[in-house]
């Protein structure tokens, strides 16, 4: 008998808009020392499955409608509250997605760490505060927190995201659980930090022989650590197999679709860059912001140097990828080029015209020529305007259509981005994330621009949707002769789409070059680290890499 056996689990949500079968007849098992990955897109029910094991779902609206989850001979779904508390504190631990919000900001990290020890529901397992503190400091050291003695008394806001996730892992392990559930533990982290955390989880698991359930939307992330994989879709299990079986020999259509959607390998299409024609010339650009968090208390003027002396060219017709981790200044650079962020120093020219010297009025005709696509499809559309209004606005404002042919023009835009004409009168909240991003793309190409700056346009989307939107973008670039600056933290996506790549870190350019040349032979150490950290959907090579580190 396995450590945990889930059989026929059904979880339904009773919402105002009706019944949602979030989890519908899901079964799997996991044993000590084994890592089970549950993979699926958003809405597949993967997180709900795991939350229901520890009774962490809000009830109502959630309701467990059937099934069993036998852990160590006891059904987790029907045991009483006291038993559940014992399981939670001693046997089953959980790590959550967002380390920034998962720790209590009002309580020191150390205090939060030792709580499962000093308040253990099993009186016999309770420890005194000094003992608990010793144990916590040991564990902090083990998960790689430097100077744990001192850090013990710090508050969560004094830790970076990666460090907080390490603290979360220490907290999960403090009572030596037998099952560790990780809910997308690396999704909110940068790629280099992600690699470290994955390696840490793997090491700790092997040392302690615990069972791990690893939830992820990203097949690449689980390739290296999973022994078994469960693929979920719309509340049901599509396929269960060992990792190699899933990645190399799958027969299931949905799994195949997921694997095919992972952007991998070099760009297929030829570069359309016109080598002799520079469209955008950025020279020694600096964009600084006042740091309000410190300045408000009356300290000397503090500046955040978001972009600190960047020079680059964008050739007409090319797709230039801009890669960097969070806080690298890549988004600010994009906005500065479009004159949406105030430039502190330096210049941006478009076909030889210095944009930063123009008045807002003079800038209007240039604005038509350059457009932006944003990351968050929820925030980038005005929630009170219909799709029709959103798409018609730029057309009418720039005189690209008149009242007679506006309807037809808007319909053509809808065709262009692959949306049904019939949904023109709908509002943004009635669309899915991918559809909204298509609307936003439609708005950007409405003015018939020459340059489009796309700021993480697919990061908020599921992998299958991401693939569709990427192909749409490539298609539009081709058909409308666009030039594009494609900003992303995801190196695989950038490789898939761009002709040339610029790597940014801490406000400056680290390295730049043709995509494939850079991938084959990165010159700078930072670039090498970045490229090495990319998770691949290939268990064999991933396992080798894990063993290395």
């Amino acid at each position: 008998m396995a450590l945990l056996e889930v059989n026929g689990l059904k979880v339904h949500f009773h919402t105002r808009d009706g019944l949602v079968k979030a989890v519908d007849d899901v079964s799997f098992s996991v044993d000590c020392g084994e890592t089970l990955a549950i993979v699926g897109e958003s809405g597949s029910g993967k997180s709900v499955t795991c939350y229901s094991l520890l009774d962490l779902l809000p009830k109502p609206p959630a309701k467990i409608e059937g099934g069993t989850a036998v852990f160590d001979g006891i059904d987790l779904l029907t045991c009483d509250a006291a038993q559940m508390r014992r399981f939670r504190s001693n046997d089953i631990a959980m790590i959550f997605q967002d380390p920034m919000t998962s720790l209590n900001p009002f309580i020191t990290v150390g205090e939060q760490l030792i709580e499962p020890l000093i308040y253990n529901p099993d009186k016999s397992r309770r420890q005194t505060r000094p003992d608990a503190r010793m144990r916590a400091i040991e564990l902090l050291d083990e998960v790689g927190i430097i100077d744990p003695e001192k850090r013990f008394d710090c508050y969560p806001h004094e830790f970076s995201g990666g460090m907080r996730q390490r603290v979360m892992i220490a907290m999960a392990l403090i009572n030596e659980p037998r099952l560790l559930i990780c809910d997308e533990p690396t999704t909110a982290l940068d790629v280099t930090i992600q690699a470290q955390i994955l390696a840490l989880i793997k090491t700790l698991q092997q040392k302690r022989n615990v069972a791990v359930i690893f939830i992820s939307h990203d097949l690449g992330v689980v390739a290296g650590i999973a022994d078994k994989v469960v693929v979920m879709c719309e509340g049901t299990v599509r396929e269960t197999n060992d990792a190699d079986g899933i990645f190399y020999r799958t027969q299931d259509d949905y799994t195949k679709k997921l694997l095919a959607a992972i952007p991998e390998g070099p760009k297929v299409m030829q570069s359309r860059a016109q080598a002799d024609s520079t469209m955008i010339q950025v020279s020694n650009l600096k964009t600084y912001f006042r740091d309000h968090s410190k300045a408000s208390i009356g300290a000397a003027k503090n500046y955040i140097k978001a972009v600190d002396g960047v020079s680059l060219q964008i050739q007409r017709g090319e797709i230039l990828g801009l890669v960097g981790e969070s806080g690298s200044g890549k988004s600010t650079l994009g906005r500065s080029i479009l004159q949406l962020a105030p430039i502190t120093e330096g210049s941006v020219s478009f076909d030889g015209t210095e944009l930063n010297t123009l008045t807002p009025k003079q800038l209007v005709p240039w604005r038509r020529k350059m457009q932006m696509i944003f990351q968050d499809p929820y925030a980038s559309l005005n929630p009170r305007m219909t799709v029709y209004e959103t798409l018609a606005e730029p057309l009418l404002y720039h005189g690209l259509a008149h009242s007679k042919n506006i309807d037809q023009q808007v319909q053509l835009l809808m065709d262009d981005v692959g949306l049904a004409r019939a949904s023109l009168r709908k509002y943004p909240h009635e669309f899915s994330g991918g559809q909204r991003q298509r609307i936003a793309i439609g708005r950007a190409i409405a003015t018939k621009p020459e340059l489009i700056i796309a700021d993480e346009p697919v990061s908020a989307l599921d992998v299958t949707i991401q693939a569709q939107v990427l192909d749409l973008i490539l298609n539009l670039v081709e058909r409308h002769n666009l030039t594009m600056l494609f900003i992303s933290h995801d190196l695989s996506v950038v490789r898939y789409i761009s002709d040339r790549v610029v790597v940014m870190n801490k406000g400056v350019i680290i390295e730049c070059g043709d995509t494939e040349a850079l991938w084959a032979n990165p010159q700078q150490q930072y670039t090498q680290q970045l490229l090495k950290a990319i998770p691949l959907a290939d268990p064999k090579s991933e396992r080798l890499r894990m063993a290395d580190s």
């Binding site: 929630p383 799709v387 404002y397 309807d407 009168r425 709908k426």
Partner: protein, 293 residues
Amino acid sequence: MDSNSLDTMAEKGTSLWEDAWIKLRKNRLALMGLGLLIFLCLVSLLTPWIAPYGYEEQDLLMGATPPSAEHWLGTDVFGRDMLTRIMWGGRVSLMVGFIATAVALAIGVIYGAVAGYVGGRVDAVMMRLVDILYALPFMIFIILLMVVFGRNLLLLFFAIGAVEWLTMARIVRGQVMSLRKQEFVEAAHSLGLSQWIIIRRHIIPNTLGPVIVYTTLTIPSVMLLEAFLSFLGLGIQPPQSSWGLLINYGVETMEEYPWLLIFPGIALSLTLFALNFLGDGLRDALDPRTSKD
């Protein structure tokens, strides 16, 4: 490709306003509040024609009588019909509520919108001023004003409006500030739209929700302030009357004639209930977070 009119071929969407209305319709308390409020406004408007007795009509010989078939809510010590007095008092109370709120709304929205949209140093100075005004003991100032310049209805509107605009300004500013950073506003900028179009089409429609909610909740607090002042004898002046003043008179004789206190009290409390329930209902209905699930 046929180019028939959009309306014949398009599915109709549901706007956030329609969404909110659907949600509000399911909230029974808020609907009751809305109904009661409409009823009260109608009664107040029509009072001169539908009041059972004349405003000045008294019957000193009869004096105070408990509720009866002729006088549903009884009469006061001068033999005046309480229902009539409460109806006339309601006119004043509601008027103060609506007009002073309108004053607060006008000042607060413009001030807050300018501070939030312009931002930077202008915003810092403008909000500093609001902070300073917040620290002033306004209740005391209003009392002082009423004492010094006499009990003047117009002055009361402005005094109360001048206090209540501060919170409105803060709410609108916060809203505008966060909207300004939203990507769809940035997108509008990158489309090259003019400032005015951005404000009119993208900012204002999205600030309306919180403004409506707060307005609904300001009216009862203004009415309360008026009643408070009238109760102290510093607000509305006879021969005009308001619910606060009626409560004041009712307290003097409550041992002998408790209905003179209870009925105006019920009128005031019910109105406050109606407005507060409606305000809470609107807040739930317009809250974007509840519209996502």
